[in-house]
């Protein structure tokens, strides 16, 4: 269950090469639709390389990098992209920096050239930085409008404190407000280099064509002499606390968080399976017990993102303010149950089928395919993680779940947003 034209992504249609200047190139040949998707990952970049004083710099770089190159103004770049009907974007994430493009097949070469100019020769004009900085600060403020974001922001801070994962990828008003053009140029200078770049392509294109286009655009890019280093990050320890924010809302948001495992940990697939069991889909444990049987919530779920460092494991729901305490107890109990009781064989089997089925359904479009392999590469897991992960899930036992739940999910951090 992968793509429209391929039953499986076999080594025959996924090609991985390291170019002489250190760029990792992944190409998936997929004839299914007349388009090509490309994801460029800068692996050492994103929030995890930001100091707290400069939190949000990756995000600001993402906003301004499409707004000027050595040859083109912001408007000229937009005109080139839009007259071809392509989509081009840049995003900062916790663990990496990403540039994406999607075009119909015949336009790919031209847009890749433009993307190359943005990656290698951006100018970061002062006027564009001013504008995007102002808008970024407004975005940070507008997070306050969504109770879910408020609760999540508080929880993230409680769990991570000084660690970069403790701050939104947008940064804070103070940190973003202090950023200068020099900071941005330094960021680009430090992290945008060929040995830090992974280019992942999927679509109607041959490996030969893709390799030669990438060579034309990036081939003469030299690795700088200095070695790329990143800050060492504070150690993380779980010291659960509880915090409440009072806001004039209709619903209470109840969110319980735990410090989970990093993606390279052996416990990662086990926690992934637990979060699927608890929170994924209409037959998940939380949905059935707390929504279907008790009508406590409309939105109720669990999530556990894939991160290079210890990721948060979260359960939450939105509920009527008078049910706040019942909701906390309900979520707590459901997680605690996993520290005491083993899952039955049919529960375990069901959760595995669900996660593996949905994992396969997540690789249908060219963008999804380019994303997932580029991302695994950028996290240092390699493209083989695709199959390793699925094997690891198959091998999880109910004993492992009990043990991992006891290790990570014994005591929650609790973050509440509710009206007075």
């Amino acid at each position: 269950m992968t793509t429209r034209s391929n039953q499986k992504l076999t080594p025959q249609n996924l090609h991985r090469t390291i170019l002489p200047n250190g760029i990792t190139l992944l190409v998936v040949e997929n004839q299914a639709a007349d388009l090509v998707a490309c994801r460029c990952f800068l692996k050492l970049a994103g929030s995890r390389v930001e100091s707290s004083e400069q939190a949000g710099i990756s995000n600001l770089v993402a906003s301004v990098i499409t707004k000027g190159t050595r040859n083109l103004s912001a408007l000229e770049i937009a005109e080139t992209v839009e007259s071809i009907g392509a989509s081009v974007g840049a995003d900062a994430s916790s663990d990496y920096f990403l540039l994406s493009l999607k075009t119909i097949s015949q336009d790919f070469g031209e847009i890749l050239k433009l993307l190359g100019e943005m990656i290698r020769f951006p100018t970061f004009p002062a006027s564009e930085i001013d504008l995007e900085q102002k808008l970024a600060i407004q975005s940070i403020r507008s997070q306050q409008e969504q109770p879910f974001n408020v609760a999540f922001g508080q929880l993230r801070e409680m769990i991570y404190q000084d660690h970069p994962y403790g701050i939104s990828v947008l940064g804070t008003e103070a940190s973003v407000g202090s950023l200068t053009q020099e900071d941005i140029l330094n960021y680009h200078q430090s992290y945008f280099r060929p040995d830090n770049l992974i280019i992942s392509i999927s679509g109607r294109i041959t490996t030969e064509t893709a390799t030669s286009l990438v060579g034309e655009v990036f081939g003469d890019w030299q690795i700088p002499n200095n070695i790329l280093t990143v800050q060492s990050l504070p150690e993380l320890n779980s010291i659960p606390t509880e915090k409440v924010i009072i806001q004039d809302t209709q619903q209470s948001i109840v969110m319980l968080g735990y410090l989970g495992a990093e993606v390279k940990s052996l416990d990662y697939p086990v926690l992934k399976l637990i979060s699927t069991y608890l929170g994924n889909g209409l037959s998940s444990r939380l949905f059935v017990e707390l929504r279907e049987k008790r009508g406590l919530a409309y939105d109720i779920s669990a999530f556990y993102p894939t991160r290079l460092q210890a990721a948060p494991f979260i359960t939450y729901m939105g509920t009527a303010p008078e049910n706040t305490e019942i909701a906390i107890a309900g979520l707590k109990e459901e997680v605690q149950r996993l520290t005491k009781e083993k899952l039955s064989d049919s529960e375990l089997k069901g959760a595995k089928n669900k996660i593996l089925g949905q994992y396969a359904l997540g690789k249908q479009t060219n963008s999804e395919i380019a994303q997932i392999f580029g991302w695994y590469e950028s996290l240092g897991l390699g493209i083989e993680f695709d199959s390793c992960f699925q094997n690891a899930i198959s091998g999880v036992t109910s004993e492992m779940i009990l043990e991992v739940a006891n290790h990570y999910l014994a005591n929650p951090y609790i973050s509440i947003v509710k009206p007075e």
Binding site: R4, G85, S142, E145, S283, G295, K354, L361, T365
Partner: protein, 424 residues
């Protein structure tokens, strides 16, 4: 097995349309290399089918479908699907409710019968009705915490006087409290009938299997009831500017929404013209409003324009996120640009750019079986499925003068509804 009364396949349509003898429409497309099948069931039983006092029924019923039938227990369908690695869910709009299921092709025969049974023979148990109503109330409560949702509801209320498009799909709390399981059963038996239903199957299933499966499981609908019909009156045209203003606490910046009532799905060429106009106004950084108001004058945090095709009358909107002090200036600037669209033809470059963007979007949004099934079902429910194929051709054919004419007819700077959201 039922007889097939009609069998349509146009030269261009990659899908085949069958009208089954009980009145049900089946749209099928075989994608040989796809290991997945998407089943998407569209029913003309959206909020527009409700009378004012039955408001919220269609959406609440969509929730209750999952509570099972005499043969299928509460939550059993969800378990059967997800336990096999599939995904199912549903959505309700004004013009439809639809239920979709994605599974590996070899699990289709074990899952689709469950979906068909709960759709055709929903029990709507009394106790489950009371419990699920709390879930819907939570859904409403969470919408009230979303300023953009509130702004959009207010715009619809202001723009439409008589059409059900004015109402929230979720309904109102006090009305929901008065709805009964019997009313809902009546609504279900009235509307969930074969002539209102389109079944779409796209993916790794061949035609013969698809037909026989659908004939097997969608053969026996419930005996029809007759709940109060909703007579939809023609919406009178606006004769001026209608204004509404909301003051909210917890608002970090203001919203300015503007809306125009446009022709429904029966005028597809006009709809496509309006799609192009929304791109010319605010689709991408080169577009007129983004370039002027976000990039140059820096009066807005963001601005977008959207054309949503609806059955009876479509909706053209402009949404602006901005500081309160800029609202007058921005509203006037938008009206100036609309006036300009009416008086001066757009440039050939702009037209080509907008066309390219929509054509490529169309290619980008027909990549997966799920996307294809959604497009077929949607068009067949609000119009007919053949229309979606005309889309690229109609885009290519449209001229600058035609766009000017459409702007003149529908996007008046003197007749629209507008809502402002301001911090308390």
């Amino acid at each position: 097995m039922q007889q097939i009364s009609q069998h349509l396949k146009s030269a261009d349509l990659p899908a085949t349309v069958f009208n089954l003898s009980n009145g049900l429409t089946l749209i099928h497309q075989y994608l040989p290399a796809t290991p997945v099948v998407v089943s998407d069931i569209w029913v003309k039983a959206g909020a527009s089918a409700e009378t004012d006092s039955w408001s919220g029924m269609a959406h609440f019923l969509e929730h209750m479908i999952f509570k099972g039938s005499p043969k299928v227990g509460v939550g059993e369908f969800d378990w059967v699907v997800e336990n096999r690695g599939g995904i199912a869910n549903a959505a309700t709009s004004h013009d439809y409710a639809h239920f979709y299921l994605t599974t590996a092709a070899n699990h289709l025969r074990e899952t689709l019968p469950y979906l068909a049974d709960i759709l055709l023979h929903a029990t709507i148990p009394d106790d489950e009705f009371i419990r699920e109503r709390d879930v819907v109330l939570e859904e409403i409560r969470s919408s009230y915490d979303d300023p953009d949702w509130l702004a959009f509801q207010s715009l619809c209320q202001t723009l439409y006087n008589s059409h059900p498009y004015k109402r929230s799909i979720l309904g109102e709390v006090d009305l929901l409290m008065n709805h009964t399981p019997n009313m809902m059963r009546c609504f279900h038996r009235t509307h969930y009938q074969p002539e209102n239903t389109t079944v779409v199957l796209v993916g790794g299933i061949e035609q013969e299997s698809a037909l026989s499966l659908v004939n097997d499981v969608f053969g026996e609908f419930s005996v029809p009831s007759e709940c109060p019909p909703n007579i939809v009156n023609a919406e009178p045209p606006l004769i001026g500017i209608r204004r509404e203003e909301l003051h909210l606490s917890r608002l970090e910046h203001g919203r300015l929404l503007m809306g125009w009532v446009c022709p429904g799905a029966e005028h597809l060429p006009t709809a496509i013209g309006l799609d192009l106009l929304s791109v010319i106004l605010a689709g991408g950084r080169c577009s007129r409003l983004i370039q002027e108001l976000r990039e140059e004058k820096q009066l807005v945090l963001d601005i977008c324009s959207d054309f949503s095709l609806q059955k009876d009358s479509s909706l053209f909107t402009i949404n602006v996120w901005l500081e309160e002090k800029n609202m007058d200036t921005v509203e006037k600037a938008v009206c100036d640009r609309l006036y300009q669209l009416q008086t001066t033809p757009i440039t050939e470059t702009e037209l080509n750019r907008a066309k390219k963007l929509l054509l490529n979007d169309y290619i980008f949004s027909t990549e997966t079986p799920g996307q294809l099934a959604g497009i077929y079902g949607y068009y067949n429910t609000i119009s007919n499925v053949g229309q979606c194929l005309l889309y690229p051709q109609l885009i290519n054919n449209i001229s600058r003068t035609e766009l000017q004419r459409i702007a003149n007819l529908y996007l008046s700077p003197e007749r629209y509804a507008t809502v402002r959201l301001k911090p308390n």
